[in-house]
């Protein structure tokens, strides 16, 4: 119990962020027209690719003789990058077609 309370007070900033982001996330897309649902889903998909940062940190911290960490970290970096780059490019391709019309 103490551990949990300690953790909460240590990470209170993070917890505030979580609470605020939950509301913001709902608020921000609340007014989206259904036309944009697919690109929005795809864009959100690219944004959660931010998990790549974690992969980079893991990879960058791995000791040179820790092969398991290096190999898994390397795969994680590749997969994370796929998520980010692929996600943004696909979204852009969809939106490009919207833009052409006047």
């Amino acid at each position: 119990m103490d551990q949990v309370l300690n953790w909460i007070s240590e990470h209170q900033q993070m917890i505030y962020i979580v609470v605020l982001m939950v509301f913001l996330g709902i608020e921000v897309i609340g007014r989206v027209p259904s036309v944009l649902h697919t690109p929005l889903m795809s864009g959100a998909n690219a944004i959660h690719g931010v998990v790549i940062i974690g992969a980079i940190i893991v990879m960058g911290k791995a000791e040179a003789d820790n092969y398991l960490a290096i190999i898994l970290g390397f795969i994680a970096v590749i997969l994370g990058t796929l998520n980010v780059v692929g996600g943004f490019v696909v979204t852009d391709r969809m939106l490009e077609m919207f833009k052409k019309k006047k």
């Binding site: 939950v22 897309i29 690109p39 944004i47 959660h48 690719g49 974690g54 992969a55 390397f74």
Partner: protein, 474 residues
């Protein structure tokens, strides 16, 4: 200096995600929004690589990191550029699965890191930080469920995997996930010596759960599942944010988690079903039989191409209802041509777009936008339903479940309660399909046997080209 610059970079990145999502929800700014979020992401990634420090040490293994980034970027860009518009939903699902796998891998590495001393001997488990362990497990379970589920969703949309359901599957599923969570809780509380074995048991169970979770969910519900898995991955990314005290990961992850959940609920609402209903009520497998399949349905009539051309050319108002068939046939350009041709002849042509037509919400909008169809010709469902009464001809192109009257009249139908396009109010309904086979939800459609309806069989693109020819010859 470096560390505070990193903080600023993360702050900038977080703001770009919020701005990006906001701008993505407006047609005029959507593309810019996507680029802004991508820019923020680039800043966050570069800042992490060069500025991140832990206990005064920067990162190393740069060769590996850049090699990974390079491979991922090249493959990701090529895949995203080459994919056909029809395969877009699968692609999103695939990328989503990659993100989930990434989150799960991070948890695996961190777990190994936590449970091993620097000299390689097993660490004394009781000294591990309990809350950190919880976060690692959360990231592991959510990430692997999201990965496995997305892969199955991808396979299903791509036609590689069929629906599978067996009796009591939901109970088995609950057991899988229940045991994973219970094992995780057990490890956190009791810290057994065999923790690493349990850890991989949890990993396997989560993966299996992801597979069995998506397998029984049938076609029409796949968009909802992808959106749900999308928000799962968001939460898994946020777990990483807690683990590394990283605000950019946290904001990005939670933002997507929240927005994704709302989007999932909006989609369910469009189909007038609850999320539990979608997830528990297996749509594909068992429901097919109850979908009025055995009913004697009488005869349908066919219409010839030239008759269809005449009917449409001399109509005052034509509504086109596009569906997945149009997407598969890549007929959006041909469809636009027919629309222009009819408009030149003084016919008012509009498109009636059902929110879940195709395989993803907005799928049809994207497709028609590609063919340069103008915005104001696209009518959303409510608007369209008001206009059908004054419409002479409805042309249905490869849509099925979204015009199935069973959704209104037959309580035993699996799609009962879903709002549909009320095409029957129009004077004539012409239905283009490849065959009499049922649609994606696997249920028969009474509409085809109604007196107002006539069938025009064939591939959408071919039929539209022929129609154009006929209309020109009139």
């Amino acid at each position: 200096m470096g560390i505070s610059l990193l903080t600023v970079s993360y702050l900038v990145a977080s703001v770009t995600y919020i701005l990006g999502l906001k701008m993505l929800s407006n047609p005029a700014s959507a593309r810019k929004g996507n680029l802004i979020a991508a820019g923020g992401m680039t800043i966050a990634v570069l800042a992490t690589i060069f500025l991140y420090e832990e206990e005064g040490n920067g990162l190393h293994n740069y060769v590996w990191i850049f090699a990974g980034l390079l491979i991922g970027s090249v493959v990701g860009t090529l895949a995203a550029k080459k994919v056909k518009m029809t395969a877009m939903p699968q692609m999103v699902s695939l990328f989503n699965g990659m993100g989930g796998a990434c989150a799960a891998l991070i948890s695996i590495i961190e777990f190994n890191h936590l449970t091993r001393n620097s000299d390689g001997t097993a660490a004394y488990f009781s000294s591990l930080d309990g809350v950190n362990l919880i976060i690692i497990f959360a990231g592991l379970i959510i990430g692997s469920v999201s990965f496995a589920g997305s892969m199955i969703a991808w396979g299903k949309l791509d036609g590689r995997i069929k629906d599978h359901a067996f009796k009591g599957q939901h109970i088995v599923n609950l057991l899988f996930i229940g045991i994973s969570v219970a094992l995780a809780a057990f490890i956190v509380i009791a810290r057994p010596v065999e923790t690493p074995i349990y850890f991989y048991v949890i990993l396997s169970l989560s993966l299996i759960y992801g597979v069995f979770f998506v397998l029984p969910i049938g076609g029409a519900d796949m968009p909802v599942v992808i959106s749900l898995l999308n928000s799962f991955t968001g939460v898994a990314a946020a777990c990483g944010g807690f683990l590394y005290d990283n605000k950019a990961m946290l904001t990005g992850g939670i933002l997507v988690g929240a927005a994704g959940t709302l989007l999932t609920i909006l989609m369910c609402r469009a189909m007038n079903r609850s999320l539990t209903n979608v997830l528990i009520g297996s749509f594909g497998g068992g429901a097919t039989a109850s979908g009025g399949a055995g009913k004697a349905q009488g005869n349908y009539k066919e219409i010839s191409l030239s008759d269809a051309a005449v009917v449409m050319s001399y109509a005052n108002k034509v509504m086109i209802v596009p569906g997945y068939g149009l997407a598969v046939a890549q007929a959006q350009h041909t469809c636009h041509e027919l629309e222009k041709l009819l408009t030149e002849k003084g016919v008012e042509v509009k498109y009636a777009i059902h929110p879940v037509a195709g395989r993803m919400p907005g799928h049809m909008n994207v497709l028609l936008a590609e063919a340069d169809v103008s915005y104001d010709k696209l009518e959303e469902m409510e608007q369209a339903n008001e206009e059908f009464a004054s419409t002479d001809v409805v042309l249905i192109l490869g849509a099925n479940d979204v015009v199935n009257p069973a959704a209104k009249t037959d309580p035993s139908s699996p799609i009962y309660g879903m709002p549909i396009l009320d095409v029957e109010q129009a004077k004539t309904v012409i239905i283009n399909k490849r065959s009499m086979k049922p649609g994606y939800a696997g249920i028969d459609n009474d509409l085809f046997f109604r007196p107002k309806a006539s069938m025009l069989f064939g591939d959408s693109k071919k039929v539209l080209q022929d129609l154009i020819g006929e209309v020109k010859n009139l």
